[in-house]
């Protein structure tokens, strides 16, 4: 069975030890103006590396740019 989380309301594969930092690395999310929430709770930048994401979590990584 493939374990998944929700990332911005889309399926994303879960793996042991998955953190916010790891997700950002995999997705190449390099933009700095972002909002991160796990199950509705805000995660601060300094906690990205330490925040473990569990199977079934709902992760939102919202990029704030609505204009060029």
């Amino acid at each position: 069975m493939i374990l998944i989380i929700k990332l911005n309301n889309r399926d994303f594969p879960w793996e042991e030890g998955l953190t916010i930092e790891k997700i950002m690395e995999i997705k190449n999310f390099t933009f700095t103006k972002i909002i991160v929430k796990v199950n509705g709770n805000h995660i601060e930048r300094e906690d990205y590396a330490a925040t473990i994401v569990n199977d079934g979590d709902n992760v939102e990584i919202i990029h704030l740019l609505a204009g060029g």
Binding site: N9, N28, F31, I35, H63, L64, L65, A66, G67, G68
Partner: protein
């Protein structure tokens, strides 16, 4: 107001701006009270001439230029034989026009200044690099236009990323506001830049920018991954009075046509227009300036080049329509919209043509997945274009809205709208005029103007559904190479969204299925957006909508009554 003759002065903006500032200022101190609007020599021989606006930079002791007016206003300016428009005015201060309550403006200004001071280095580095901070961001998200929008990233972007400009070219540590006292101060410049070609070869000049659009359009989109090449093209576009975005996109189109053999060296008059050829690109500009050679063909813009290449050189008209990145005669600005349906509408469902200052929804749509349904996208394609039209109504700079956001913006209800900053603008309007507006009223104000413009377009024969058709490259891969560059993504979509099994199918077969799907999606988006904007299925404002906006003017009704 006076009308004067100036036959002896130069035409190119960086010289003429300096000459006229010198001529109209009483002394060095007075130079900051003079602003000069000019075009340039190439504006006369192309259709995408732009206007330059000078401001005197007392630190550098030089006249600087900022550009505005996509769509050929510089061409109109030169066509009317206008050389310059000069404004001289002294003692600009906060309460110059009898402000209603200056303390409100001061309070908002101080709050905002502190916020930029605390946040800029954590967010965007606007004070160090300006808007070019997003070059590498767009590359990382596969959105940077590369080789006429075929691709979204390139390994050589490394050579033109923002830090290269900051470290090697842009003067640091200077408060660079194009408006004296602006807190964000994003109008960066490269000083003492040595020009390598053309009439100013060997001159050391101050080059404004590059803005993101210039680095992307003059650089990546033409595969010119050379910071000095970009700066020189930027300089010549400015001083010759040429819109950098239209030039970048038009040149990228000509380069692709050259690479595909649609045009050749004989047609270009000897220019080798391969992707990456800086010298050919800058030569096009010099030719535009002189009104000669293939530069004047490129200067007609993509819309006319498509027609010319099809008619004169028997090129496949449909293919040219697919790859020619223009709509309503305006060249696309520099973001890839293939993977964001909302942004396809952000470009295609505009009054003026595909530019990004109505709606930039790529992250909201493609990355954040915040507007998944057609109705969600339509709501965004209503709100943002109306909101952003409002800056033009009041003469505000847009950048203090969302380029840097308050530290606690993330806790607000709708962070993408940056509610605190919307309130800043409303507070300033109140402080200046005494008019208290709500955020809903500001949208209605814009809607009135937007619908007026829309009806004007209809009157000029350009405002109906057929005019909102977009080139296929802005919605999906046109060629096999483009498909294969993102094969995994497209194959997945075929399977998951269309229920089509891509295994064993040729690229051509898969592309045909994808095309049908994507074109249908765009049509559905149009339906939803028109409905949200109060227009009928042909893109015409309904009479009820005009009534709702209090805009039942006989002149407007006359244009649309038979199109209901």
């Amino acid at each position: 107001m006076t009308i004067e003759e100036a036959p002896l002065e130069a035409y190119d903006a960086h010289i003429l701006g300096e000459q006229l500032t010198e001529m109209y200022a009483d002394n060095e101190e007075d130079k900051r009270n003079v602003a000069v609007v000019t075009a340039g020599t190439a504006a006369e021989h192309s259709r995408f001439g732009i206007l330059n606006f000078t401001f005197y930079d007392p630190r550098r002791k030089t006249t600087r230029l900022k550009q505005a007016g996509r769509g050929g206003i510089g061409t109109v300016f030169r066509n009317k034989k206008l050389k310059a428009l000069i404004v001289k005015f002294s003692n600009v201060k906060g309460n110059l026009n009898n402000t209603f309550e200056q303390s409100i403006i001061n309070k908002t200004g101080i709050k905002y200044h502190k916020e930029i001071h605390d946040q800029d280095h954590l967010q965007n580095n606007m004070r160090k690099i300006g808007t070019a901070n997003i070059i590498e961001v767009m590359d990382a998200y596969d959105l940077l236009p590369v080789m006429n929008f075929q691709y979204g990233s390139h390994p050589d972007t490394e050579k033109i990323k923002s830090t290269v400009f900051i470290e090697k070219y842009l003067t640091q540590g200077v408060q660079d506001g194009c408006w004296y006292g602006c807190s964000m101060a994003c109008a960066k410049a490269a000083d003492n830049f040595l020009i390598k070609t053309g009439p100013y070869k060997g001159h050391r000049v101050t080059v404004d920018g590059p803005e993101y659009e210039n680095a992307a359009g003059l650089g990546a989109n033409c595969a010119i991954f050379d910071p000095e090449g970009i700066l020189e093209l930027n300089f010549y576009c400015d001083t010759y009075g040429i819109d950098t975005i239209s030039f970048g996109t038009a040149t990228a189109f000509a380069m692709e046509c050259y690479e595909r053999g649609i045009i050749n060296k004989e047609i270009t008059g000897g220019l080798e227009l391969n992707f990456g050829n800086f010298y050919s690109s800058v030569e096009l500009l010099h030719q535009m300036s002189k009104g000669e050679g293939f530069g004047t063909v490129v200067g007609q813009g993509v819309h006319r080049m498509k027609k010319l290449f099809a008619k004169k050189y028997e090129a496949d008209e449909e293919f040219l329509f697919d790859i020619g990145m223009e709509q309503k005669g305006l060249e696309y600005s520099e973001y890839g919209s293939k993977e964001s349906l909302a942004q396809q509408g952000g470009y295609g469902l505009t009054n003026k043509g595909p530019q990004h200052d109505e709606a930039w929804l790529i992250f909201m749509d493609m990355v954040n997945n915040q507007i998944p349904t057609f109705e969600d996208k339509a709501e965004a394609l209503h709100y943002y274009p109306m909101f952003r039209t409002w800056f033009g109504l009041y003469g505000f700079c847009k950048l203090p809205w969302n380029d840097i956001v308050p530290a606690d913006n993330k806790y607000s209800d709708e962070p993408a709208k940056v509610p605190e900053h919307v309130q800043n603008y409303l507070d300033v309007v109140y402080g200046v005029t005494g008019k208290r507006l709500t955020s809903d009223e500001m949208i209605i104000e814009s809607e009135r103007v937007y619908n007026f413009q829309k009806i004007f377009n209809i009157r000029m024969g350009k405002g109906l559904r057929k005019d909102d058709r977009i080139p296929y490259r802005s919605m999906a891969p046109v060629t096999k190479e483009e498909y294969e560059s993102r094969q995994e993504r497209y194959d997945k979509q075929l399977k998951e969204k269309i229920g089509y099994a891509p295994e064993g199918m040729t690229a051509e077969e898969k592309m045909a299925v994808l095309r049908e799907y994507r074109e249908d999606q765009y049509e559905k988006l149009i339906d939803a957006v028109y409905k949200r904007r109060g227009w009928n299925s042909n893109g015409v404002p309904t009479l009820e909508h005009l009534k709702y906006l209090d805009m039942e003017l006989p002149e407007l009704i006359e244009v649309i009554k038979d199109l209901q």
